[in-house]
């Protein structure tokens, strides 16, 4: 199922020094990171939402790869299945369903202005976060053993310590269900 991280683990086992290992992980990281950023940029820049959605899917997949690099096996899977799979296909279906013509799209003549302005405004927030992160120890991200992030381990965590939020996610999911019916569904005349 999750062959890819296994490969990495194998790689790790195969070398004593681990330099190549790390170099390879870095190389993977940068690849995924660049893809993710490009995808995100595409999302922000593409005029048509469909293009944006496709580009976003690329980002999500790249992120899944990164999760794998971070030894989060379960999340890697969930990201692909739930996010890139379910959520994004829903979005794309709706985009297609609405049958958006180019003339329905907003004419964003001032888009670039806003983008640049936005970037300037966001800069302090980003720098602030960077500054924060820099105070952390910059450890290496080699794969953690002991089934860290495996289904069983995470599951035990979930049911032992996080029962209540987990249960309430049920209600959380019910609400948009009802909501979607109320807002977008068919409605009989008042009962």
């Amino acid at each position: 199922m999750n062959c890819w991280p296994q490969k990495v683990r194998l790689l790790k086992k195969s070398t004593k020094k681990g330099a190549l290992d790390i170099m390879f992980a870095d190389w993977l990281f940068f690849t995924f990171a660049v893809i993710a950023v490009l995808g995100a940029t595409g999302l922000v820049l593409f005029r048509h939402p469909l293009n944006g959605a496709m580009s976003f899917i690329v980002t999500l997949i790249a992120l899944a790869g990164l999760y794998a690099l971070l030894s989060a096996k379960l999340i890697f899977a969930l990201q692909l299945i739930v996010y890139a799979g379910a959520i994004m296909s829903l979005i794309i279906i709706i985009i297609m369903f609405l049958n958006i013509q180019p003339e329905d799209l907003p004419h964003e003549e001032t888009k670039w202005m806003y983008l640049i302005g936005g970037a300037i405004i966001v800069m302090p927030i980003g720098l602030f976060m960077v500054k924060m992160v820099r105070t952390l120890p910059n450890i290496s991200t080699e794969i953690v053993g002991n089934n860290f992030g495996g289904v069983k381990e995470v599951g035990i965590q979930l049911y032992q310590n996080w029962l209540i939020p987990f249960e309430f996610i049920a209600i959380l999911l019910l609400v948009p269900l009802v909501g979607a019916v109320v807002l977008a569904g068919k409605r009989g005349k008042n009962k």
Binding site: P124, I125, F128, K131, T135
Partner: protein
């Protein structure tokens, strides 16, 4: 040794009760069936007569006491007691108060009787007597009150009555305005009085606020405060007694009925200032500067008023200015520390000036409210009693020996001379001549010569006996009152001065007989000169002269009233209007208005920020965030 008796309080109470009873009767009947005038007349006279009788009793009681302990007191109740400030509603009769008591009740009674005739037929007959009784009561409180604060009650009370009686004919705006003027000008003086009391209290502290305690503690006063108190009290006196600069109300006050002018604005109320200065002789005696100020203000007032009196047309105004002038003498007297002389002049002046006013009232009554002397003339044939009595009054006023005015005025001038105030004396002599001149100018024009207004002349007649009898009684007084205080040079022994001695802090000046005779001669000469001039100018009948130059200036009273109007009244009104029209909305209220306007403006401006675009709201959030992170970054290290 003071003696406590329990009837002093009754003396003012009788007239006050009379005022209440008459007033209530009047108020409740005036718009329905009126009570007969007789009822009011009798009711009105009961109070003054009873007071007069009690005054005599007081006099007798005082006489019985040894001179150095001639005090009667009556503490009715604790009036105000706040901390160290304790005042009782107390009355004090000493020789000075007794003298005032006697002549005030005596003349008051006479004028009440006179008014029964004079006011007959008036719609507000009852009201008049209520006011008169109220006045008399207040005056008696003023005189008897033990301590400045009780005196002030009477002081303001007589002011109120003066106001009410001046504006008695209230349908005519001018009368009411004159009344207002009197009250307001008096109030300016009263401010001085009140402040004087406050200073006195400040200076004396807990020492008590009746005359006896005050005179004991007066020595403890700091000189600065003593001076301030003296001058402030004197300001009060200038208001009530019509001295420069507050004399302006008195001539206008003649708008009231003539008995009022006689009683209030000649004989009694206006002398309250002199009485006050004499009362506080223990203070003034220690502050020479205040004395000089008083003396000079007094004598200059005398001069100024005499000048005005020489040019007046209105018989009552002439008398009014003469009153101001005589009051000036009195102040000159008390100013040079000749308190008894000043008081004595008050005493004699009360007789002859009341007499002159009542005489003038008779004339006015006879001529149907004509007051212009240039419409009169030759009345001596028609009104002999009035003529004779008025001439007696005029002689007394002009200072002709041996009428009462001569002695009292001479005493003042002598004291001024003897204490070295030669300037005052000199002015006094000049004023004496002028007094003789304007007095006889009036007599000659009114009684001598031809009738100038034939129709009025034909209707003129001697008034009823209820009016003439008081005239005669007063005339007798005007003749003989002076003998009570004959100075040594005439073989007298200054009886009044001696009587007053326990109440006053004064040293009778002693000079050589030569000086005494010189002063007397000078006075007589002044009288003669004045009389001669008057006779030569008006004795044979004269017409109203055209005024020009100085005389025109003097005829218009140096435009003092106009100046007051320009300098004080108009600016005051303008200030009021400015405050209301400009300052209030544009300055005082401006911050409030401005704040609310700014608030509204900002509120409307803020609507722009609620643009309605979701993106804009997101931008607000991010901008806010990023600003906050900027600050936060500073704290991250």
């Amino acid at each position: 040794m003071e003696l406590s008796v329990n009837y002093l309080g009754l003396i003012p109470l009788f007239p006050l009760m009379g005022a209440v009873i008459i007033g209530l009767l009047h108020v409740f009947t005036c718009n329905r069936t009126r009570l007969p005038e007789k009822v009011y007349g009798i009711l009105a006279c009961i109070g003054p007569i009873l007071s007069f009788i009690l005054a005599l009793r007081v006099w007798v009681a005082l006489k019985a006491l040894p001179p150095e302990s001639r005090f009667l007191t009556h503490d009715v109740f604790t009036w105000i007691s706040v901390g160290e400030f304790n005042v009782s509603m107390g009355f004090l009769a000493d020789p000075l108060a007794c003298l005032f008591l006697l002549f005030v009740t005596f003349i008051g009674t006479l004028i009440h009787i006179y008014s029964i005739g004079y006011m007959s037929g008036d719609v507000n007959y009852g009201k008049f007597f209520a006011y008169m009784n109220l006045f008399l009561g207040s005056m008696l409180v003023l005189v008897l009150g033990d301590g400045p604060l009780v005196m002030f009650v009477g002081w303001e009370g007589v002011g109120l009555c003066s106001y009410l009686l001046i504006s008695f004919y209230s349908e005519d705006r001018a009368n009411v305005v004159a009344g207002n003027k009197a009250f307001i000008v008096n109030r300016i003086g009263d401010l001085g009085f009140v402040l004087g009391m406050a200073f006195l209290f400040w200076g004396i502290g807990s020492g008590g606020f009746d005359y006896l305690s005050l005179s004991v503690n007066a020595d403890n006063l700091a000189p600065g405060i003593a001076l301030a108190v003296c001058l402030l009290f004197f300001i009060g006196a200038t208001g009530k007694s019509a001295q420069i600069p507050l004399y302006v109300w008195l001539p206008d006050a003649m708008a009231g009925p003539t008995p009022v002018s006689a009683l209030i604005h000649a004989a009694t109320m206006v002398t309250a200032g002199v009485y006050m200065v004499a009362r506080f002789s223990f203070l003034y005696a220690g502050v020479e500067l205040a004395g000089s100020v008083i003396a000079w203000v007094g004598i200059l007032t005398a001069l100024l008023a005499a000048i005005f009196a020489m040019y007046q047309d209105d018989i009552k105004k002439i008398l009014a200015y003469s009153t101001v002038s005589q009051l000036g003498y009195m102040f000159a007297g008390v100013g040079v520390a000749a308190y008894s002389a000043g008081i004595f002049h008050v005493f004699t002046h009360a007789f002859f000036k009341a007499l002159l006013f009542l005489g003038a009232g008779s004339i006015i009554y006879a001529l149907h409210h004509e007051q212009n002397i240039w419409k009169m003339g030759g009345l001596k044939a028609k009104m002999p009693i009035t003529y004779v009595t008025m001439v007696i009054g005029a002689l007394a006023l002009a200072g002709c020996p041996p009428f009462s005015g001569f002695f009292s005025k001479d005493e003042i001038l002598y004291c001024a001379f003897a204490t070295g105030h030669y300037g005052i004396w000199l002015v006094g002599i000049v004023v004496a001549a002028m007094t003789a001149f304007y007095t006889f100018r009036m007599i000659f024009i009114v009684f001598h010569g031809q009738a100038r207004d034939q129709e009025k002349f034909d209707h003129a007649h001697e008034p009823p006996s209820v009016m003439t009898i008081p005239l005669i009684i007063l005339a007798v007084g005007a003749i003989f009152a002076g003998f009570f205080n004959l100075p040594g040079v005439f073989g007298g022994n200054l009886m009044v001065s001696q009587w007053l001695e326990p109440s006053l802090t004064e040293v009778h000046p002693y000079t050589s007989t030569f000086v005494e005779i010189f002063v007397v001669v000078a006075s007589i000469a002044a009288f003669a000169v004045g009389l001669k001039l008057a006779w030569s100018k008006y004795g044979q009948g004269a017409t109203k002269p055209e005024f020009s130059g100085f005389s025109r200036f003097a005829y218009n009273k140096f435009y003092v009233d106009e100046a007051f109007d320009r300098v004080l009244v108009q600016p005051y009104r303008a200030l009021g209007a400015t405050i209301w029209k400009n300052i209030e909305p544009n300055v005082t209220d401006a911050p409030v208005k401005g704040a609310s306007r700014l608030y509204m403006m900002l509120g409307n401006a803020f609507k722009v920020f609620q643009a309605g675009y979701v993106r804009v709201y997101a931008i607000y959030m991010v901008v806010g965030l990023s600003l906050m992170t900027l600050f936060l970054s500073q704290s991250l290290n």
